[in-house]
Symmetry: C2
Amino acid sequence: MTQATIITIGDELLIGQVIDTNSAWMAQQLNKAGIRVARRVAVGDVWEEIWRVLDDESKHSDIILITGGLGPTADDITKPLLCKYFNAAMIVDAGALENVTNIFTNILKRPMIERNLKQAEVPDNCKVILNKRGTASGMWFEKEGKIFVSMPGVPYEMKGMMTDDVIPGLSKYYQFPHIAHRTLLTAGVGESFLADLINDFETALPSTIKLAYLPNYGMVRLRLSASGFDKDAIENKIQLHFNKLQLLLSLYLVTNEDEPMQQVVAKLLVAKHKTISTAESCTGGYIAHLLTEKAGASAYFSGSVVSYSYKVKEDLLQVDKNILESIGAVSEEVVIQMAKGALKNIQTDFTIAVSGIMGPDGGSPGKPVGTVWVAVGNPNKIVTEKFQFRFDRQRNIELTATFALNMLRKFILSDL
Amino acid sequence: MTQATIITIGDELLIGQVIDTNSAWMAQQLNKAGIRVARRVAVGDVWEEIWRVLDDESKHSDIILITGGLGPTADDITKPLLCKYFNAAMIVDAGALENVTNIFTNILKRPMIERNLKQAEVPDNCKVILNKRGTASGMWFEKEGKIFVSMPGVPYEMKGMMTDDVIPGLSKYYQFPHIAHRTLLTAGVGESFLADLINDFETALPSTIKLAYLPNYGMVRLRLSASGFDKDAIENKIQLHFNKLQLLLSLYLVTNEDEPMQQVVAKLLVAKHKTISTAESCTGGYIAHLLTEKAGASAYFSGSVVSYSYKVKEDLLQVDKNILESIGAVSEEVVIQMAKGALKNIQTDFTIAVSGIMGPDGGSPGKPVGTVWVAVGNPNKIVTEKFQFRFDRQRNIELTATFALNMLRKFILSDL
């Protein structure tokens, strides 16, 4: 099976200054196209390290995709290195020059400087991939039956090249097998319990189908994978086993697609033509953000009140000042009033209200860090639940959002 | 200089199902401790691939840190592989068994099953690292002068082990040099322009100090790095050059720390004892989320109205219905009214209001996708700006937030 390695270049990756999101996206695209990614390697802007990773990976992989280090400044050494690695001479590419000139003249409307012109230079034995979204060209090299493609590290530019040129280009070279995945999400049970529950299923799985567990704090994703050249046969076979798996796990199943909780809720709302609002204290707008991250959110999401202070809870959600002062904001009474306030003021079919202590400060013996009250409901009924998380602030915010959305999902499904 | 490799194990990394955030965090911690990360490698749950990466990396690095593949299910093969790789036999570790039992009895309050007990098994020649946050133990191996540490892939568990055991453990073995970084953020100028502006500075930099450019759509981070055993000398030297750099770039400087825009704004608000609110349409609560991601946000952040629908803009921010219907929500008039509404209803010193078209749908010839109006101000004065972004939805949301926060930063600084 044709194998690929993804190489990302940049010191910022090795000191942890940025999180590498390019690799995950590239891996998804390659996988969809039937190309197995065998490795992902990140190296710094260091000549010897880049050279070594090219040597090493071309021994094992057929396709080497490289991002990063193509900028116009001195720390960007990928282009001269590739020029030397492939024994080439640097020339100005007419198409790349036109592209750079066009970007400066018509988009940036800034004068070009010498350094920008350098962006139009490429090694003379590569096929140039036009960058429609930036000044650094992509470069396609072939050597001893292996394909090397170098792309900019800017995600938006890399993505354009991958979609328009690299994936179509690779598909011309190889006949790739079909890769099929099926993923489902469960909530409420641990990985070991699930594994025992589906033990017979797992044991009986044909060796061509792989099962993976992806636990994530109280939710576990299960994934089946298979590949082969007969697309229909692969798809039918994996679907058959996936159906069995869903049946076995029906009690804990959240979704049978590889999608986050907010998309499950969004699809449910759209299907039922219902709208939602949120009243958020401790999550500070994060649930609203999740509900609006995909296009089309206005079909189901109307708005939110982020009520961080007592005053906003009182003024915009009509939470009772006496209750805030006597029982405190992190209480069942307050999230119920927040939910009622949101339903009344934003006028949606459903709402989510949350109030909690995300940490690391603000805890007390009675209400330690990680204490969260959630209310979900509609104008007729509100249900509440108290959670006790035990993680760091960022994780507590994410978990509160996911569990609150899951509560709403169950509420909508039971609200027939 | 002592070098480390970070190896992350899991098929999910190679099909792009998850983004690897562990590596970046680990790299930060290693770097702080004076350990240079030479490479980060991700491989799948495949016996031969894991074996090969251990062989390869131990040739070049002194320290090999491994995460992932330690779960209780069949797809987790890291532990048996390490047992074989280090010619060990599997034994039950008493401390690990007590830990697993305690977690099930006192925290999860669930009966233990056979599979959970397996989590207490370890190769007999490793030093066990107690997992205070989960059931999978960490394992510390030594072979031919190299150190190999295996940790769970769950970020919260891995972080605990790194902080409490791995970094302190490594620091006992090696005398690490001091690594110093200085990072500043600029806004409003491109990478090439900056490079020309500081050309003389860059040329005159001693070879022991490295300069890196980290461009990110309209903002560029510049980083100086140096390392050595005389901590004070290194710190003094890098600070001297960093001071020069700041002076050269003072016109474009946003912050001289490695922090995101929202922290710059937060610190400014705290220093001036001022509060902020937001009125968000297209960003759907994302700016509020950014302003509340760090502890202590209640000192400066009061709340937000996320007004996705016209009705919420009218009801909670008193935006004029006629203007919404005649000019449309994405307009200067509307963001001004949203800002005024937020200042009046949330009663803060400053506010940010945004309305735009994030895409991929909803654009028109007069207002293409990426059109965004931002208003920032206080009760006495409101300033507006129109942006035209040209990226995908997620990126447009992020950019709108960053540029709006930068507008507010400049407004606060000019509001003396």
